[in-house]
């Protein structure tokens, strides 16, 4: 009797496991396709935009920064600080995993890390200079409801700022609505909520506001507001260290 049980079990494994593997591969492919669509909806391949970053402190006071951002392809982004005066002329460049900061007084770009925060507040460099999610993460479907997908994203390399993300995606529009960012230890680092879907023209329809809170910084809140997002083509040379001091020419 026991022998038969093993035979049944092994027979079941033989027929079931490959099917299960195929199903899993298929759902992973589907998850990564959803993630790519999320990226396409969030950021066109080549564009310029202005962003206002508002850091709200627990006492209610605010600090505001305005950036001019240009992006090309999946892994090239440059950003110029437009205001306040104390930060004006600073510029950051991101090429894949590499990130640099240019400070006019210093006169040369220096390598910075993605975990650092140039402007303070809850957003760090990786949030402000974020590339396409599909460049940095592999996706799997964690849960599906009639209205949304919940994706589990795992970092492809160790240089990515967050090891794991949990992403809520609206099923109808394939638009991201919420992202939770986790450290390797499983600690929840921050929560990003995507709000106020706006038509920027040029076929760009995306959330205009990203609100960020963090259980590590109770009472702090950061908001990123997008404006004047336009499709624009740039030569690759715009995304180089040599061009960082010249970014203002593109405005």
């Amino acid at each position: 009797m026991h022998k038969n049980r093993y035979v049944y079990f092994l027979t079941f494994l033989l027929f079931w496991t490959p099917g299960w593997g195929q199903e899993r591969v298929a759902t992973d492919i589907r998850a990564n396709e959803i993630l790519k669509k999320v990226d396409e909806n969030l950021m066109p391949l080549s564009f310029e935009s202005y962003r206002k970053l508002i850091n709200e402190e627990p006492d209610g006071s605010k600090k505001e920064f305005i950036f001019f951002t240009v992006k090309k392809g999946k892994d090239k982004m440059a950003m110029l600080y437009v205001s306040p005066a104390s930060e004006k002329g600073r510029a950051t460049l991101r090429l894949g995993d590499n990130m640099w900061l240019y400070i006019p007084n210093v006169g040369k770009p220096i390598r910075i890390t993605s975990l650092q925060s140039v402007v303070g507040g809850v957003f760090n460099n990786a949030d402000i200079m974020r590339l396409d999610y599909s460049v940095e993460y592999d996706a799997a479907i964690l849960q599906q409801t009639p209205s949304e997908y919940i994706l589990d994203l795992k970092a492809k390399t160790r240089t990515v700022a967050y090891d794991k993300l949990k992403m809520w995606v609206d099923r109808k529009s394939t638009m991201v609505t919420k992202v939770e960012c986790y450290a390797a230890s499983g600690t929840l680092i921050k929560i990003l909520e995507f709000k106020n879907i706006k038509n920027f023209g040029d076929g760009i329809l995306r959330p205009a506001v990203i609100e960020t809170t963090s259980p590590l910084y109770r009472g702090y809140r950061s908001m990123m507001i997008y404006s004047n997002m336009k499709l624009r083509k740039f030569p690759d040379e715009v995304f180089t260290l040599e061009y960082l001091s010249r970014l203002g020419e593109l405005r």
């Binding site: 390598r111 890390t113 993605s114």
Partner: protein, 426 residues
């Protein structure tokens, strides 16, 4: 009827000619272009209290003419930086001026930068004028900074003056995982006018070149400089992120016929030497958001312990001679030949920075040390920055110098100093 046809013809002719005239000279009034002239800058009001080290030969030379020797000195000054940028299409004009007010007297601007640039294309650009370059990956020291203004390791972020140059840069990117970008920067460095304050010998025009590569995730530079009356230098530097929170960098420079000055009795003599200077450093960020910068610097032409002792003795001798011309010569050498803040060979620089410690909003604290590895003297400097309002900053910045007799930091003209800065940006 004939008259009527003539009139019609005349009217048609007038109409035709006036029409063509108006077409030829007609124009659309262009919309007023938005001015692209921008000004910005900052005003630093600084007050310092300095504790004199009267046993220091540097102090004795610097204050030789001052009859009253105080134990504490006060220093008040206003540093005003005014920068302007004008851009129109491919052409740009840049100006950076600096004014320093220390006492009531006419102020004249120092032009830190004054240059025009032409961007022929995103790949090719050139500039002519006085422009600041900053070569090298080091934070506090740059052995490959051949065209840099001399950096103050006690304040590496300070705005500094540029050099007159004619600069050409070619920049090229590739859609490749290995070589992503390279650029070639070449410059001519005209010598300072020393003939009737207007001219200089054409033989002393210098040249410098830098080749940059971004290979995989590594920044790599090769550089060289040549001038008839200066040492030939060849160098390289690199920088890369080993992890998302750890960056390493390094520089190596080889100099041929580098002049080294040493003191012997009452004289300063020079000799020429070949050799390498180098730097290795890292930048690390921990989970508490604390940044650590650490650098080791070897200066090939720096003074050895014995040579530094001889230099101190030279300064002492000049003061003890009680001859104004000897003291003036020592003072001149101090501000020209031995002006560097790191005169010796081997240094360790360590800086820790913590934004918003103890959840104290808008503040940041830092602490740095420069440790002289040859004579074991050092300086320690904590700094507190507070930015409660946009475009306003308050800085509290003390310095403490430690070291035994005949050591570099043990002989600084001031034992300690504290500075308060109030900075307004506009």
């Amino acid at each position: 009827m004939r008259l009527f046809s003539h009139i019609v013809l005349a009217v048609l002719c007038i109409f035709y000619f006036t029409r063509s005239f108006s077409q030829e000279y007609d124009f659309d009034i262009p919309e007023e272009e938005e001015a692209k002239i921008e000004f910005n800058g900052n005003l630093d009001a600084k007050w310092g209290l300095l504790r004199a080290q009267r046993s220091s030969p540097f102090y004795a030379v610097q204050f030789y003419d001052v009859p009253e020797k105080d134990d504490y000195l006060s220093q008040y000054r206003l540093d005003f930086y005014l920068n302007g940028v004008y851009r129109h299409k491919q052409v740009g004009f840049f100006i950076k001026t600096f004014y320093q007010y220390a006492k009531e007297e006419p102020l004249s601007p120092s032009f830190f930068e004054l240059y025009g640039s032409l961007n022929v294309s995103p790949r090719l650009s050139m500039s002519i004028g006085k422009q600041r370059f900053n070569w090298g990956k080091g934070y506090a020291f740059n052995p490959v900074g051949y065209v840099n203004a001399e950096k103050d390791p006690e304040n590496p972020d300070l705005a500094l003056a540029g050099k007159p140059s004619v600069y050409l840069n070619y920049n090229r990117s590739y859609d490749s995982r290995i070589l992503q970008n390279w650029s070639l920067g070449a410059m001519l460095l005209p010598p300072e006018a020393d003939r009737n304050d207007r001219f200089a010998s054409a033989e002393h025009i210098g040249a410098a070149v830098k080749l940059y590569f971004l290979i995989k995730n590594i920044d790599l530079d090769f550089m060289a400089t040549f001038r008839k009356d200066a040492p030939r230098r060849l160098g390289l530097d690199f920088s890369t992120n080993l992890r998302e929170n750890l960056e390493i960098h390094g520089e190596f420079s080889y100099a041929q016929d580098e002049k080294k000055y040493v003191a012997a009795d009452d004289l300063i003599t020079s000799c020429k030497m070949d050799g390498g200077s180098y730097l290795i450093g890292l930048r690390y960020l921990n989970r508490l958001n604390t940044t650590l910068i650490a650098e080791y610097y070897h200066n090939n032409s720096g003074l050895s312990e014995n040579e530094f002792r001889a230099y101190l003795q030279y300064l002492r001798n000049s003061v003890e001679s009680n001859r104004a011309e000897m003291v003036d010569a020592a003072k001149g050498n101090m501000s020209i030949i031995f002006r560097s803040k790191t005169l010796m060979r081997d240094y360790l620089y360590v800086k820790l920075m913590q934004p918003e410690p103890f959840a104290w909003l808008y503040s940041s604290v830092s602490l740095f040390t420069i440790y002289n590895l040859s004579d074991h003297s050092y300086l320690i400097s904590p700094q507190l920055s507070y930015r409660p309002y946009t475009n306003f900053e308050f800085l509290l910045w003390p310095f403490f110098f430690f070291g035994g007799n005949d050591t570099e930091y043990g002989n600084k003209p001031f034992k300690s100093k504290i500075e308060i800065w109030i900075r307004f940006y506009f």
